[in-house]
Symmetry: C2
Subunit: 550 residues, 2 copies
């Protein structure tokens, strides 16, 4: 093509200019790719929320094992190093939870990239629903990092997040309207009675065994730990994570966080037909490091090293202690740590265990032992399994709502906490305990009521006191003095009255609590020796508070 009337030197200039722009563009693109697309992060993040930066890095070989990535975050009050992780498609991420509302700068380095990335951001004040991570408080109790009390009323839905999208949405909706502020669930999928279908996703790249061979009767034959091996047609690469699995769980942790619910993550468990419980030490450690790098920055995470650790003969105490050591080294936020038993307790006196996550060892007595456990371990006692409300064939899953609520009250007044679960038979075998979904039991409403009563205690929690042999008696946990607050619980006993005497001088406000019918009856003020009449029914409590002068 030929342009008439254009001077040939202008044409040359144009070509040169185009070349220059092309070169400039190339340079800019190159710079942009390095500093913007290859490295992105927000400039503001709320205190105790997740700060996350994304970096492009090496993709060759196996990025999950071949390269390192670490971030170091520095502010006036802290200097924290965290591991990043490979997120697939050449992307690496580093997450960090700022513990202070102040300016942070950071540096990302490691073998994943030849570049060292630096940046800064502002951690802003936490909003009203953000109290930080939950910590042990007052030896036996919990509080958020900002000091707000936290009274755990937990539930268990082992793999609710690995069900259909619809069911997950339903679970979140149910949780939103429930009293539960802690939920126990697994990172690995679950193979167990009522749980024989394929999960939403798998944690590794590979192929699961054919589940059409499974029945309710033969499922135990495929339980790796019990059987002593992995069914052979499983085909997994335990060194390549399925990042979608973890990304999905992160979404669910966020959803829970937004509902004010702690995610008590069960990192390992025995209910496995795929071999995730049978990996070697190298792969276990890779998994632990990956889990910590991905999840630790979420403020609502708790670490449950295992569910029923003692049903995993393939793991030794040395293994559990090694995982705990990784946690202590790699989780800079010191999230709560526990390990849950089937029969024998793990040694809860180990220093890395922040609280006792207990399954009852006796059919008839569980919550009644909380005060003994307190004495023994000097840590918060959380009874995470004391049988579930339901009607399935298994003895751990068929007590009444009344009995479950009684156990909660016993645990509470003895200075500990219990957890809920629900196991009603369902036409599609959807049980809250494992799948989430809807709650059908009678206990949740009563547990909301208990949570209300707990929230009305003046301190961070209840402590058992010496009452009569035939009552459970609590006061406020404190090291000195008399709080003037007393709770008396009668469980399955049905006294028609009780007599009280504290002193001659003070007035005491008396309330009758019907823990089942969820009523609190005001009986006004009493003084000296006084008698409190009761309806002679089960599940009654009395709350007495001293009137403070002045």
């Amino acid at each position: 093509m030929r342009y008439n009337g254009m001077p040939s030197d202008f044409r040359l200039f144009s070509i040169l200019a185009a070349l220059v722009f092309f070169l400039l563009d190339f340079v800019f693109e190159s710079w942009y790719h390095t500093t913007m697309t290859n490295f992105s992060y927000p400039k503001h993040v709320e205190r105790w929320n997740v700060f996350e930066c994304s970096c492009r890095g090496k993709e060759d070989g196996n990025p999950f094992t071949d390269y390192t990535i670490q971030g170091v975050f520095t502010s006036k009050n802290e200097e924290t190093a965290v591991d990043g992780f490979y997120n697939g498609d050449g992307e690496y991420r580093v997450r960090f939870m700022p513990s202070f509302a102040e300016s942070y700068r950071f540096e990302i380095h490691g073998s994943f990239s030849d570049t060292v990335y630096r940046g800064d951001f502002e951690a802003t004040t936490a909003n009203d629903n953000n109290h930080g991570p939950v910590r042990v408080a007052n030896t036996f109790h919990f509080a958020y990092e900002d000091g707000a009390p936290y009274y755990p009323v937990g539930t268990t839905c082992y793999v609710w997040e690995l069900q259909s999208d619809a069911l997950q949405r339903q679970t979140l909706e149910t949780l939103k309207n429930s009293p539960f502020n802690k939920i126990r669930f697994c990172i690995f999928p679950k193979h167990y009675d009522y749980n024989l279908k394929e999960p939403y996703s798998y944690p590794y790249i590979g192929k699961p065994m054919d589940n059409s061979v499974l029945t309710k009767e033969n499922f135990l034959q495929y339980m790796c730990g019990m059987k002593g091996g992995v069914p052979p047609d499983n085909d997994w690469d335990f060194k390549r994570f399925n990042v979608q699995h973890f990304q999905h769980i992160e979404k669910r942790i966020e959803d829970l966080r937004d509902l004010g619910i702690e995610a008590d993550l069960i990192v390992m468990h025995p209910y496995d037909r795929w071999g995730f419980s049978m990996m070697d030490a190298e792969c276990d450690d890779l998994y632990w490091n990956y889990v910590i790098a991905r999840f630790a920055a979420y403020r609502n995470v708790w670490w449950a090293l295992a569910n029923e650790y003692d049903l995993m003969p393939q793991k030794t105490i040395r293994d559990w202690e090694r995982y705990a050591a990784i946690l202590r080294e790699k989780d800079p936020y010191k999230h709560l740590r526990s390990i849950h038993n089937c029969r024998p307790f793990y040694d809860h006196s180990r220093p890395w265990i922040t609280h006792c996550s207990i399954q009852r060892q006796d059919i008839y007595k569980c919550a009644e032992l909380v005060d003994e456990y307190r004495e023994q371990y000097k840590k918060p006692i959380v009874l995470d399994e004391i049988a579930y409300e339901g009607n399935i064939q298994h003895g751990w899953g068929n007590i009444s709502g009344r009995e479950l609520v009684r156990r909660f009250w016993e645990a509470a007044l003895r200075g500990g906490y219990a957890s809920h679960g629900e196991t009603f038979t369902h036409p599609d075998d959807l049980l809250w305990w494992s799948h989430g979904g809807e709650l059908r039991g009678e206990s949740p409403a009563r547990l909301a009521f208990l949570r209300r009563v707990l929230s009305e205690t003046p301190g961070s929690g209840l402590a058992p006191t010496q009452g009569s042999w035939d009552e459970t008696t609590a006061t406020v946990e404190q090291t000195t003095g008399d709080s003037g607050y007393y709770l008396f619980y009668y469980g399955f006993m049905r006294p028609s009255f009780r007599d009280f005497y504290f002193d001659e001088e003070n007035e005491y406000h008396v309330e009758i609590i019907d823990t089942w019918n969820m009523t609190i009856e005001d009986r006004g003020y009493c003084k000296g020796k006084f008698r409190v009449k009761l309806p002679g029914k089960e599940y009654m409590a009395i709350r007495i508070r001293r009137r403070e002068n002045g």
Copy 2:
């Protein structure tokens, strides 16, 4: 007055004849007084009933302490020596229970009289309602002496026999229509909460303290053992029994016998404001000897050395062992012997203890320990106190009928027995547990149902077997072989089904027992692997019996 026509020698004859008759009459009277009025006894008595002979004897001094009386009874199969006792008004009695239906002769001697009395009688065949005394059978169970099984379903009315005549009659009428075949009650009157009035009679001659000083609040101050002494205005002669008291109790033992109810006599107890629990060893021994001499011949007597022996600090183990030695020496019929605790058990392995009469040591677990107690003591386990159905203020007296019945079933399937009691508040403070009267609870009807189920076991009792961890399982107590009889109890658990497999060959008859609603549903015969559907309710049991071929 003058008689005409009568010869004077005839008149003389008449006078002489009258004199002779008068003398003969005197001699006969004298002989009759010695051999008939002074010594009387029946010529026939039913086997295992009370043979009793009455002798006049010395009245001077203190006949309770100054004289001895003993009977020796001889038949083809036995020669038995028994003590007699002073019955007041110059009368002594000797009682004897013939253990065989055969001819007996006997001799009564002792310092009570200068004469030795002899006689004979015929022990006749027992009638259909008379099975003899209850014995230990098959190590852990009971049977009557004639071999008929005895499944104790006991109750407790501590001093029912020391209430008004009307109330005693009402108690007997209630018992007649109840499932109870054993009742625990005291020989001494009782001083305790709800029991502050004067009893029907006292065991000694003397005068009680003024009871107008007593209140529900201060009664413990008058409890001799706790207070360390006897209120001073009591005035008793511990060496002179009030025979009416004992005669009255005998009538009540007979009434119970006629209703087929064992009289579990509590010989000593701590609930005392009169000093009967504080006597010296000499008076204690006198009492024990008197009690044995009077009551041992009643076939339905059991000896409970004490209720809550450990609340009697004034008595030592040496004392209890001495009483036991008296019992072993003086009760030739070897009635059942036990000693009941408040907190620590007496050493139930002592050879004189025939069965463990247990008060629960834990609020939450009691019947659940029966199988452990069996292992430990190798004796029948009778849980005589596991809290009563009721609504009084005390924790031992305010559980529900449901919970009490559950404890009975737990005890039964673990190879032991439980006892009932009822403590509902009452406008006149009349509580079954102490006074008898009417039953108002929900448990008795269910205990009748349990007794029916027990009566349908093929052997002398149930033995626990190893079932699943979450069920209580029983079979027939036997040393060899498989009875083909199985009971499964689920208590507060609510399974919707359970799976069974015994063998491939036999057919098994399946019944669903609703222990609360008292129904037995026939599910026909099953074979091989089979599933039993259940309603997912509390308090269900399954009874399975193998069809015997041929």
